[in-house]
Amino acid sequence: MKAVISIIKREMNGYFGSPVAYVFIVIFLILCGFFTFQFGDFYNGNDASLRTFFVWHPWLYLFLIPAVAMRMWAEERRTRTIELLLTLPVTLPQAILGKFLAGWLFIGIALSLTFPIVITVCYLGDPDIGQIVAGYIGSFLLAGCYLAVGSFASSLTRNQVVAFIICLVICLFFVVAGWPPVTEALSSSVPLSVANFIASLSFMYRFDSVQRGVIDTRDLVYYASVITFMLAASSVVLTSRKAS
């Protein structure tokens, strides 16, 4: 556990030691505001909730999280620092977990900096705090899934740009699998059970259910299994390809 914490600390210093982290946070906050107020039409919605805020998150994460995750392993392999890291008294799962948790924490910090919108909605109306908390939890879990996919994508290649694109493509699949236009198209062409199955794999499907303010065990199990599966996949890939 101590080893994991050292890795988390190192990665966090890595994020905040470069301007990229601040640029990322600023872009994330600007886009959140822009989508919520411009496209979401927050004020005219006349609704004291953060629905119009959270609904954009899966799309924002689609581009921003691959950018956070892409260097995770690709850079270690390119600079060969992976050789030193894995010959320290650290196991590969510890290293993968440490890097993942650091990235997640970083996104958590970016997400928590959106708090002014909570203040705004509380000032303007009388929102359901429980629903807002559920919204944040759901969004954070969703970010974890994207990041775990990013960890996997980053372990596949030594090139960060390639890692970014692979992560984006996989995440896009997970998002659109439950996107209404796709689900409708699917349900008219394949048996309903298959269409439902595909939709239930989607990030969107789970995200919507949490956004309604209910944190269902099934959703938690879903998020936990996606994250575990993707991190385990990173481990399998790195075991066989770390030296190349």
Partner: protein, 310 residues
């Protein structure tokens, strides 16, 4: 302290390391030699647990790297090839990270970092990020990282690669200073380094061990071992050559250099016999004036070429 047992590594069908077995004891500095691509780094990566061998194993200070990887890795300080250090970290931050991940904290951590910084003379560059450092400093930072926990075993992959002669000297001095209480393996293709710091040399070619012995033992395999090089003034070439060649145990006499007055000759012994006294006696008896007289120890580079070129 290190037992390497029948290590084999296959990359596809390519046998990168083919049944390598050797032991290293405390106090030994083992030079691991071989041409590029012979399997030196691959062997070291298996001993340090970076990747598993196809078969065989290494036991490090009593811990099997395959069965008890964490304990085994705690015994080892490792300097990988090309000193891969995180480029965006400061030297101080990096060494603190290494100390922390190796389980040190508080006062002990400060002491360990301080000691490594002192040994490697890194005081001046502590606040700099690694990517601003010269190659020599980068190598020293990585060396500092390896010795930081004061491990019983050091594995150094080309520790002096890319350093200037002063820095090379400095690194060798550090290695020699630590050798007594540790067990050190270092790979290199600089043969003078073996002479300077190693107590034993293992030569590997195409993944197989082709020689294992002290530098002196290896040099004995050289055709130059115990050869005598001498320069003579005002002695006719034919007379000198025939006189020396007639001596017992002299296999061959070569002319290395000649001008009007000086003749430089080398007498090669047959079967590694000692010929220097006989040659000296002959020079004295004939009343030749010899301005130089040198007994060769044998050349590692020649042995290395002969062994690895097949």
């Amino acid at each position: 302290m290190i037992q390497v047992q029948h290590l084999i590594k296959l990359f596809g069908n390519f046998r990168a390391v083919d049944d390598v077995t050797f032991d290293v004891a405390k106090g030994e500095v083992l030079g691991f030699l071989g041409p590029n691509g012979a399997g030196k780094s691959t062997t070291m990566r298996m001993i340090t647990g970076f990747f598993p061998p196809t078969s065989g194993t290494a036991v490090v200070n009593g811990f099997d790297i395959q069965k008890q990887p964490l304990e085994a890795k705690r015994q080892i300080g490792y300097l990988p090839e090309n000193a891969p250090v995180y480029p965006d970290m400061t030297v101080e931050g990096y060494l603190r990270f290494i100390a922390e991940i190796r389980g040190f904290s508080g006062e002990e951590l400060r002491k360990k970092v301080g000691r490594a910084v002192e040994i490697c003379s890194l005081e001046k560059v502590l606040p700099q990020t690694v990517d601003t450092l010269s190659k020599g400093y980068k190598q020293r930072v990585c060396f500092a990282q390896a010795i930081l926990p004061d491990p019983p075993i050091l594995i150094l992959d080309e520790p002096t690669d890319g350093l200037d002669p002063n820095q090379k000297f400095e690194v060798r001095r550090m290695i020699s200073a630590m050798a007594e209480n540790k067990c050190i393996i270092l790979s290199t293709h600089i043969l003078e380094e073996v002479d300077a710091v190693c107590t034993r040399a293992v030569i590997i070619a195409n993944g197989k061990i082709v020689a294992n012995g002290s530098p002196e033992e290896l040099k004995r395999r050289s055709s130059l071992y115990e050869a005598v090089t001498l320069s003579l003034d005002n002695v006719p070439e034919d007379e000198a050559v025939s006189a020396l060649a007639a001596l017992a145990n002299v296999a061959k006499v070569e002319i290395l250099k000649k001008n009007e007055s000086t003749l430089v000759l080398r007498a090669l012994p047959a079967g590694g016999n000692i010929i220097a006294p006989a040659v000296a006696e002959e020079v004295r008896r004939r009343g030749w004036r010899s301005t130089q007289f040198h007994v060769e120890e044998g050349r590692l580079d020649e042995v290395f070429r002969n062994i690895t070129r097949q």
